[in-house]
């Protein structure tokens, strides 16, 4: 798609594109290329020589139990975060969509957590779940539950999921509410006249009309859980205890920054890139389809 009437200019368009292209080339294409290049190389233990090893870093990766554990953690973490954040948001959006007094106020009070950084969300929940100073942490101790996310891997995972999902609910809420408000009232009235009860009306009329929004949000939530939650994990558990909350993105950081294993870290980056490309492609295919409705 393009305009019929345009300006003439030989150098000007390139000049206008220059800043964007400079940043893109230096900070996106160069590092991405480097990641691909390094993923096929291996440094010896002293960093004295590098050797070209083709796909060995990748095959090592897929045989590494710690990496597979991180992949599994990522699956558990992302699906839980997406399910929790989408479910809660849909429920709240349906409530806020009803004709009630104070709907605007509720809306404001439900959207502000969007502004909270993932790492900050983690710190806020730490104040609640901390075993010795937290409200919930101490309540658990009082009723006899041994609660310490610094020792118990399952509890650590639960905590990072709650902190990560909590922050994402507002985002989903905004989109679900917009989706609900765009459903024509006449459709709902027709269903009501036909005698459908509210629950049935929701599942047979509202939900199908909302499914494009839900699908879009599912992809966005997965991307969020994969990549934007580094801060939650770093601030709360550092991937621990053991490797219980180490996700793929966290492992790239650990191997690259702490273990200085550049070949493996680069190979992991390439795997993540492929995942993002896949998710983005799905997202755009779907948007394309929706435009044709």
């Amino acid at each position: 798609m393009r305009k019929k009437v345009i300006f003439r200019g030989a150098a000007l368009p390139y000049l206008l594109l220059l800043p964007q292209m400079a940043v893109t080339l230096v900070f996106f294409f160069w590092p991405a290329g480097m990641a691909v290049w390094q993923s096929a190389q291996r440094e010896d233990a002293f960093g004295l020589s590098t050797e070209f090893v083709w796909f060995e870093n990748f095959t090592d990766l897929f045989h590494d139990p710690i990496y597979l554990n991180a992949a599994w953690n990522t699956v558990i973490f992302s699906t839980s975060v997406a399910a929790l954040a989408l479910g809660a948001a849909l429920f709240l959006a349906v409530q806020a969509d009803k004709q009630i007094r104070g709907a605007g106020l509720y809306k404001t009070l439900l959207i502000w957590p969007y502004a909270v950084a993932p790492a900050l969300a983690a710190v806020l929940w730490l104040f609640i779940f901390h075993p010795s100073i937290g409200l919930v942490g101490r309540a658990f101790a009082a009723i006899g539950i041994t609660w310490d996310f610094r020792v118990n891997g399952g509890q650590a995972m639960t905590m990072v999921i709650i902190a990560a999902a909590w922050k994402q609910v507002s985002y989903n809420f905004i989109f679900f509410l917009a989706g609900l408000q765009s459903i024509p009232a006449s459709v709902l009235e027709a269903a009501a006249i036909d005698g459908a009860r509210p629950m049935r009306r929701f599942w047979t009329v509202v939900f199908p009309l909302l499914s494009p929004t839900a699908f879009f949000l599912l992809v966005v939530n997965l991307v969020y859980a994969f990549f934007d939650t580094f801060g939650v994990i770093h601030a709360l558990t550092r991937g621990g205890p053991g490797n219980a909350t180490e996700t793929l993105i966290y492992k790239v950081y650990v191997d690259g920054v702490q273990n200085l294993n550049f070949g493996s870290s680069a190979a992991q980056s390439v795997v993540l890139m492929i995942i993002v490309i896949g998710l983005t492609a799905i997202q755009f295919r779907y948007i394309e389809r929706r435009v044709h409705y």
Binding site: A88, L109, I111, A117, H234
Partner: protein, 297 residues
């Protein structure tokens, strides 16, 4: 006679049912709001007590009297973790503010220019450039951390505000949004500008920019929050604590294990870190929702 009674009874039952539904709706929403607000409430309360009260584990539910001391102390001196020396919250807030502003303004500026070039000009390789920008959508910084860090080292941009912001200002989403919007500007405007003898830059300044004002405002809210909330990148790029941003600085205040944390100062700093982006969202709610639903779709 009996018919009227039935009607009244039915109407009353229906009223009761609607009443019950309304109460349930309010209760669910209040519960949702409470769950959202609980961590903030605890943090706010914590920031008004002294270290010992919180450290003892007597979780206070009502404000204490140490608010002024805590906020003044965190603002001017900061709280130290066990391994790090303290950075005043005022310094960290300033760094975060500059970082967020540079990222938001930078992204908007370069995206406006490149979208303008792609939409209003015809030139060789136009679509190649467009796709190059588009592809960056698939390379979030988290995915290419280590190589990008190595590039920054070779450009000696570590520990500089330039290094902190420049790699984050390329944005496919902003360019795509402006491109989408520019395509809706009627061709007649361009023709009229040409007839009046206005060049492309004049057209950009006098027509395109004013028309884009709403979009710029909406995008600014989203990008300011995006910039403010950066975590991984500042964590890697900044070792100089004068350049510490508030989100990273806050998490560095928390010791691992059972170190004695200055919880009251940590909570106070958390409030500082929270306030600016939340204020932006609440005060600019209309722009915020517009920006969110239009950039992402």
């Amino acid at each position: 006679m009996s018919a009227t009674i039935d009607v009244e009874a039915l109407a009353a039952a229906s009223r009761r049912r609607r009443m019950r539904e309304r109460v349930l709706t309010h209760l669910s929403l209040i519960l949702g709001v409470a769950i959202f607000a609980l961590p903030i409430w605890i943090t706010l309360i914590g920031s008004t007590h002294d270290t010992d009260t919180i450290g003892r584990g007597d979780v206070p539910l009502l404000p204490g009297g140490e608010a002024w001391n805590n906020y003044a102390h965190a603002w001017s001196q900061g709280g130290g973790g066990r391994n790090t020396f303290a950075v005043p919250a005022s310094t960290m807030l300033w760094n975060s503010f500059i970082m967020a502003m540079l990222i938001a303004v930078g992204k908007i500026a370069i995206s406006l220019l490149s979208a303008f070039a792609v939409v209003f000009f015809a030139f060789p390789l136009r679509m190649v450039f467009f796709w190059m920008i588009f592809i960056t959508l698939m390379l979030p910084v988290e995915v290419r951390i280590i190589p990008t860090f190595q590039v920054m080292t070779s450009l000696s941009l570590i520990d500089t505000m330039t290094g902190l912001t420049l790699p984050l200002i390329a944005s496919a989403t902003a360019t795509l949004l402006f491109r989408q919007f520019f395509l809706t500007i009627p061709d007649e405007y361009v023709e009229a500008a040409k007839i009046d003898g206005a060049g492309p830059l004049r057209f950009f300044k006098d027509v395109v920019l004013p028309l884009s004002a709403t979009n710029i405002a909406a995008l600014f809210v989203i990008l300011f929050i995006y910039g403010w909330n950066q975590y991984l990148w500042p964590l890697l790029m900044v070792t100089d604590r004068d350049l510490e941003t508030i989100i990273v600085g806050l998490t560095k205040m928390i010791g691992i294990g059972d170190t004695q944390n200055e919880w009251n100062l940590i909570m106070t700093t958390a409030v500082f870190a929270l306030l600016p982006p939340v204020a932006v969202v609440v005060l600019m709610q209309r722009w915020f929702i517009k920006g969110l639903t239009e950039t992402e779709k």
